[in-house]
């Protein structure tokens, strides 16, 4: 062995000794970091503090990272020893951080919920919606019922010629309904329509059967404005013209309509009546909504409430509209929406409906 060789060996030994000292120191340092960090995490009281610890230890410039950076100097055999230790500590720290974080978070929620409690009985901040006029509610229901039964909603002019309002409906010159005391006149042959039957006439003139329409709208009669009368009110009429339409069909249709509007328990009563444009004609009573027919103040003890007029279309009316009564027949009826609305909502004075006070309108 040459001196040189011995020197090399000694040097190698020295290096080995040095290394083993370094390993020991590194391991100790890692242990130290681990202990300090776990303690710090355990003592931390905020998420930010925990996060700071993470950065301080595990971040790019963190303490543990710094230690690991020195590993390059180690030999291939020793590197795993340090590596294993470092990973073990990193995992321990990470899991401690996660645990502490979740503990702190749940503490935070509790605090927040406690501190943010409010008086839920205080009034809400509202976006206010407007409401339909009560009469519109009733009309919407009617439209829906009849649309579902296959009818079309049709409208027409309110200022109308007498031939559509009267003449073609068999209401001849001289009929009391045409009196100036009952009807508003614009000219001798132009009036404010007294019924929406004028729409039926226009419809029959313009269309061939089968016809199934309802015609809602405003009508006008020369009545003073009081609790039960208004010179302007709303009607909804219906007309069906087809082959083999009968009085029985009218009955069935009205029964279905009323049951859908008022519920299955309602009963109908047909009484003979007279209208110039229908024959046979009927007035229809409904079992009282309030007492169900036993008699009360609403039905004046009768158990029945007069509801609408109806009938089989007079053959002359069909003929007037170019429809052959030998082939076709029809029925028609008309209801006053104002009346139905008043009864539905138990409104005792018709004037409310046209005075439009907000305190009234808000209710429906």
């Amino acid at each position: 062995m040459t001196k040189k060789a011995i020197a090399v060996i000694i040097l190698e030994d020295i290096e080995r000794i040095k290394e083993s000292i370094m390993i020991k120191e590194t391991l100790e340092k890692i242990e130290q970091i681990s202990a300090d960090t776990l303690a710090a995490i355990a003592e931390s009281v905020s998420l930010d503090a925990v996060n700071d610890i993470r950065v301080k230890i595990l971040g790019k410039k963190g303490e543990l990272t710094a230690v690991l950076k020195t590993m390059g100097k180690l030999s291939a055999e020793e590197r795993p020893v340090i590596g294993a230790k470092a990973n073990e500590v990193r995992e321990a720290v990470e899991s401690a951080i996660a645990e502490q974080m979740s503990r702190l978070k749940s503490l935070n929620y509790e605090t927040r919920l406690r501190e943010e409690a409010i008086d839920v009985t205080l009034p809400g901040k509202r976006v206010s919606l407007g409401k339909p006029h009560p009469m519109s509610n009733v009309l919407s229901d009617m439209k829906e019922i009849f649309r579902a039964m296959g009818y079309t909603v049709v409208t027409g002019p309110e200022i109308e010629e007498t031939r559509y309002v009267f003449d073609m409906l068999n209401t001849k010159e001289g009929h009391p309904a045409r009196d100036e005391s009952d009807t508003f006149y614009i000219e001798n042959d132009v009036v404010l329509r007294t019924q929406t039957s004028s729409v039926q006439i226009r419809t029959m003139l313009e269309n061939k059967p089968p016809i199934a329409i309802i015609s809602p709208g405003r009508v006008f009669r020369r009545d003073e404005f009081d609790a039960t009368h208004s010179p302007v009110f709303n009607q909804c009429e219906a007309l069906v013209v087809d082959k083999n339409i009968t009085f029985a069909d009218l009955k069935g249709t009205l029964e279905t309509f009323m049951k859908r509007l008022y519920g299955d328990s309602v009963r109908l009563r047909f009484r003979p009546h007279h209208f110039p444009y229908t024959e046979p004609s009927a007035e229809v009573d409904l079992s009282c909504f309030k007492c169900g027919g036993d008699g009360c103040s609403m039905c004046k003890g009768e158990g029945w409430i007069e509801m609408l007029g109806a009938g089989v279309v007079h053959p002359q009316v069909l003929r007037n509209c170019g429809i052959d009564p030998e082939v076709y027949s029809g029925f028609a009826f008309g209801v006053g929406l104002d009346r139905i609305t008043m009864m539905r909502y138990e409104i005792d004075d018709l004037r409310h409906m046209y005075e439009n006070d907000l305190r009234f309108l808000k209710q429906f």
């Binding site: 206010s128 919606l129 407007g130 409401k131 339909p132 006029h133 519109s136 649309r147 296959g150 009818y151 079309t152 909603v153 049709v154 409208t155 002019p157 309110e158 200022i159 109308e160 001289g174 009391p176 508003f184 006149y185 614009i186 000219e187 404010l192 269309n207 089968p210 016809i211 199934a212 329409i213 405003r218 006008f220 404005f225 010179p231 302007v232 069906v240 087809d242 339409i245 009968t246 009085f247 029985a248 009955k251 069935g252 029964e255 279905t256 047909f270 009484r271 003979p272 007279h274 024959e279 046979p280 007035e283 089989v312 007079h314 046209y354 005075e355 439009n356 006070d357 907000l358 309108l361």
Partner: protein, 797 residues
Amino acid sequence: MNLSMKWLRDYVKAEMSIADFARGMTMSGSKVEKWTDLSDPLKNIVCAKVTAIERHADSDKLWVAQVDVGDGKTVQIVTGAQNVTAGARIPVVLEGGVVYNFHDGTVMSIKRGKLRGVESQGMMCSYNELGLTLEDLPYADTDGILLLDNDPEADKLELGMDMLEFLGIKDIAVEFEITNNRPDCLSVIGLAKEAGATFNLPVDVKKPVFKGVDGDLNLKVKIENKELCSRYMGAVVKNVKIAPSPRWLVERLRASGVRAINNLVDITNFVMLEYGHPMHAFDKRYVEGDSIIVRNAAENEKIVLLDGEERILTAETLVIADAKKPIAVAGVMGGEFSGIMDDTKEVVFESACFDGVSVRKTAQRIGRRTESSARFEKGIDAANAENALLRALELVEMLGCGEVMKTIIDEDFSNKEPVKIKFDSKNINAILGADIPESKQLEILEKLGFKLENGFIIVPSIRIDMELECDLAEEVARIYGYNEIPSTLPRVTSQIAPAPELAFEEKVSKLMQGLGCHELMTFSFISPKSYEKAGIENANSVIIRNPLGEETGVMRISMLPSMLEVLARNYNNRNAAGRFYEIGTVYLPVGNGFNRSGAPTDEKKILCAGIYGDSESFFTLKGMAEELFEKLGISAKFMPQGANKSYHSGRCAEITVNNEIIGVLGELHPLVLDNYDINTRAFCAEIELARLFEYSVATPKFKQLPKFPAMTRDLSLLCDISATAGEVGEIISASAANLEQLTLFDTYTGAQVPEGKKSLSYKLIFRKKDATLTDEETDKAVVKILRALENKNITLR
């Protein structure tokens, strides 16, 4: 029509309960409105006889009577009446009974009591305590007890008998609502026939007969206008004795709501009620020239009618005249001078057929509608005119109030041909949708007085409403029972397409409610003065010829007056704030023609909104409008409009779409607000619904969601104070590339902004559809915008 049940039972034995009677009649078509027990509340009043009477020990005025009330019972009654003597028969109300108070007509119950220490067990009754008048009981003492011994029917009295029965107070008056087509039911006999058919009871109506005396009539009748008078029957009664009518007649009149006057007049009223045919009687001594002429009046001819008022007649008026002058207006009312007087000796009875339309117009012209004219208006049966006259003459003889001349004048030009309707039970069932056997149908029709002859139904002349097969169907159905006919539901399929405008209106209505507005319903007519009040100039409205009043005199051409009324009412009712809308119709005159859809005027729907309240402003309403337009897919512009007198000139905008004005929106003019006493700011919008419909997008097409990021820039600009945000926004939009959204978020004047200038701050969002926009591109776009603004003297702040 008020029907006496007692009178009805003269013809048909309708003995069911009154409730059953009313129900049955109502359900067969004669609607009963109500019924009144005419004896109600009178109770416990009997015929009694004074057996002894002596002065009350402690009184100068009172008497103490022992009264036999029948069944061997005697009661003691203290009375203040001075006309009662022993032996007198009188009505007595017993303990527990009810009469009317002598002084004030109120209801009074009788209790046992003491008068100045003497017990009284009832009360003797005067006529008015029984609710009667001197017309009912002409013999009654006005100042004492009713002395029954003076009664023409005193021989029928029995002690203890029910006085209400004896005096004819016990009856029920049934009030019917008779439809226009059934004037025959405005009579006792008509209703008796209905009752017979309804309850399946025999009806006993005999043809009236009179004996008559021979002699010369001294009367000629001539009908000059046969169009308006198809039949005129006249009879003469001589040696007339005017007197009160007998009780049975008076009580029937009373129950029908008619006052008794004297036998002759009562007979005409009685016959009218019984047969439904109006009659007239006049004093023959005032018929000059012994002739009756039915003619048109001369223009301006005068007559004083029974109501004491003079009428000036026109040439259209049909009159009954003598040789010189009119003595009655045909079918309406007689002349005053020819009326029946107490000294009338000779009477002419008239039973005629006048044209309904003519009578109606005459009644209107002279301003007097009578029981008679009301009946003629509805239509009269010529055959019934004869029955009525015969009945009157029969009654004259029955009552002994004169000698009836045998000869009757009958000028008859009426059509005697009965109406015939082809009968086919299948067709009737086809109309009804029922399966009523032919035998049953015929049974019903026969009960109603129809006859079948060679396949035709022969209609009795009194049934002037019958004409067609459908009329027969109704007759069958109403007696068979409307409610016995089955109910079937037809399968209907409308071929008429629904108008999309209606669905649109419903949609707009819902959106307005979503915007916080309550729906209104206002009258279509307004006061012509309200235009000026609302600041609407040169209003040309459709005028109602016969309005209820000036307040409702014209058809509105604008929704604004209606809305202002509602705002004012709500404000004055102390509703602090409100949002309202109505989709209402306005009516625009179209001159002498028709509008495009063939209506006499142009009817347009207007969406009108009105708001007021502390948190409302021009911009809250504008915001509502913008929201509405956005939801309907409409892009509208708001341009300043200073000329509309309804609105604040500096706070009003015209709403335009595609350069077409579709409406207006603004704060109401302070003068208009003052006119309506609205002491707060209020805001209205008026938008034509048809234009909204036209420009709305019913079915929007899907736009891709942005795939690339947006760039945002805020710009604070300095511009002239007169520049509008609209103008500035348009400059920006016109010059910007890739600008997706432009939002004005602040306007400012004041410190740091030079005098005469204002600051507008915008947020601009840029985005490219197909690539990420770079900072450089965005900056370039901004530079371009700023350059365009600089040209208009608008600079970056």
